[in-house]
Amino acid sequence: MAILTIFTQPQLLLLVGVGTFAGIYIGAIPGLSVTMAVSILISFTFSWDVYPAISLMVGIYMGGVYGGSRTAILLNIPGAPSAIATAMDGYPMAQQGEAGQAIGVTTVMSFFGGLIGILVLAVAAPFVADFAITFQPRDYMLLAVLGILLVGSLSSGSLVKGIFAGALGIAIGAVGRDPLTFAERFTFDLKLMEGGISFIAVMIGMFGVSEALQQLQNVNMKAVRQKIDKIVPSFGTVKKYLPLSLQTSSIGVIIGALPGTGGDIAALMAYDHAKRVTKNPEVPFGKGAMEGLVAPETANNAAVGGAFIPMMTLGIPGDAVTAIMIGALFIHGLNPGPMLMVDQPDMFWFIVGALLMANVFMLIFGLTGIKIFTKIVEMPRSIIIPLILLLSIVGAYAVNNSITDVYWMLGFGVFGYFMRHYGYPLGPVILGVILSRLLDDNWRRAIISEREDLGRFFEGIITSPLSLTLFIAVILIFLSQTPVWTAAKTRLFGKASS
């Protein structure tokens, strides 16, 4: 019955609504990202009860994934990475005077995608959690490595840079006194390092400050206004694209559920799927095809429910935002993973209920208030950037009332700024920081249970089907970046596919 908590408490309902509304605008305003918003928000809500804090964050996440599509359609600037594919056909539609129709269809299809994602989460997660209870420490370790590698390889052109970023994150997470032996790690004999580095300071720096610094180079970018007509789509239009939306929702859920992959990849894969299955689109893809809008938008919202599956059942984040949400749950004394589903099933069902409500709010806010929306999105960056920086400082300071955290945030902000410029993905750093403890603990448990014998450790991997599958997946990711793999792929599928 915990699923109904959200519906029976007006305060929580209001927070989901406020979160979704804010998420739509945060996702839509270029320069503000959901990851940034959720990381800053954690620092303000950590003293709250867990339900209100989660309500707000779930709303922002759901709204933000959808909100990115609006600027993709109106300005050809995806407000969030998950809306990159939406711009390909959404902007041409807006140029042809069909911005209202594009936004309307996008909203309804995002709702369908989101709904399917949440339903799959509700049905599949308990089974995955039951299965996850049988996982060995080495499986958790391999899953953590797999998640970091997947983010590293998929979000950047270079796996090596992704691996570096992930390893850096694990190293940052290891700073401070070891919780098992109390040994100092990377403290350089400094007292202030003994407690470790606040992961919130790292997150706000990497996603808030570095983004704001980068936006300084685009302060004078002007928005191009589009004419917006009727928004609410006809029943016939919705019915026509329903079969495609069901297919692409499935893609979204599956991609979202893979550790480390999120809405952006799901949307691009769904777009590709729509191109392959739509034989005769009314308008060609890239020129304003409705299928090119429906596919990515259903997929990226379906991926939200999908991303919660590994987060809730395994404690492994599906993407950067769920990595931050795991951090939020830690702060509230919860430990995401199979035992959370056993010990506190209410928390899981509460999140499902909050996601459902956020999806409904997204539909309502998506189909209304378009005039205010265009005004807010056109807010000058000369105001937005100083505000982001100010909120980042307040957020970093608020967690421990510490100026040191402000300097950590600034340091990681500047470092993240250079990483962005030189093609290093930031997602793996955050995943590494969050998963560092899990990886470290499970490696040590696994190797102690094998009596410190590496041979026995690998024997254990080979003899367990699950461990072997995960191990092969890790190896395949490495192999996929080698020239041998590229040559083999070219020989098999031809140059075009590579």
Partner: protein
């Protein structure tokens, strides 16, 4: 969108987080220096990680730090090797495209913000920061700058200090008394 294109996202398509900048076949100004710095820093951290517990046991507290810093050092070295073989991006310079004066200026603003936060307090430091930052970025009159900066500050202060009850340094302003006055006013209004 060209799948091979890895240009600076904000110069081109406005995407953020998941799509880092950089070019696959070319090297941006300062990129080689950055990768050399990462390699050296990783080697230093590897040395430091070795100092935690050496090769005492596979389950020792230093095993994961050593493994991760080794991975960092090796991957940073590979990136350095690859980067050194690439040709430079012809139209970019370090001062224009990577570290323009505006970015350096704002990093400076943030450092000063951190230094003044405790002695001056949040409200005054934030007001100074917003006024200077908006003036520099918007290049509009003082009326506009002061209205936007102070208006935003009031909203932020009410939301975070009063609603979220975030503790921020009061500095030289009698903030606690003001909040009490504000609360008395609200409760007086309610009754």
């Amino acid at each position: 969108m060209d799948p091979d294109f890895r240009g600076d996202s904000d110069h081109h398509d406005g995407t953020s987080d998941a799509t880092p900048g950089g070019y696959i076949e070319q090297r941006r100004p300062g990129e080689l220096g950055f990768s050399v710095f990462l390699t050296l820093a990783s080697l230093f951290l590897l040395y430091n990680a070795y100092g935690i517990s050496g090769f005492k046991a596979l389950s020792s507290p230093g095993s994961v730090p050593m493994a991760t810093t080794l991975v960092m050092a090796v991957s940073a070295f590979i990136v350095t090797l690859r980067t050194s073989r690439l040709s430079k991006v012809a139209h970019e310079t370090l001062s224009k495209d990577i570290l323009p004066v505006m970015v350096i200026l704002f990093i400076g603003f943030l450092v000063i913000f951190g230094l003044l936060l405790k002695p001056l307090g949040f409200v005054l430091t934030a007001a100074l920061f917003l006024i200077v930052a908006i003036k520099v970025l918007a290049r509009k009159g003082w009326g506009y700058t002061l209205t936007v900066a102070l208006g935003s500050l009031v909203v932020i202060w009410i939301v975070f200090r009063v609603v979220f009850t975030v503790l921020l340094p009061a500095g030289i302003l009698p903030e606690a008394e003001f909040i009490q006055f504000f609360r008395n006013l609200m409760s007086g209004g309610a009754s």
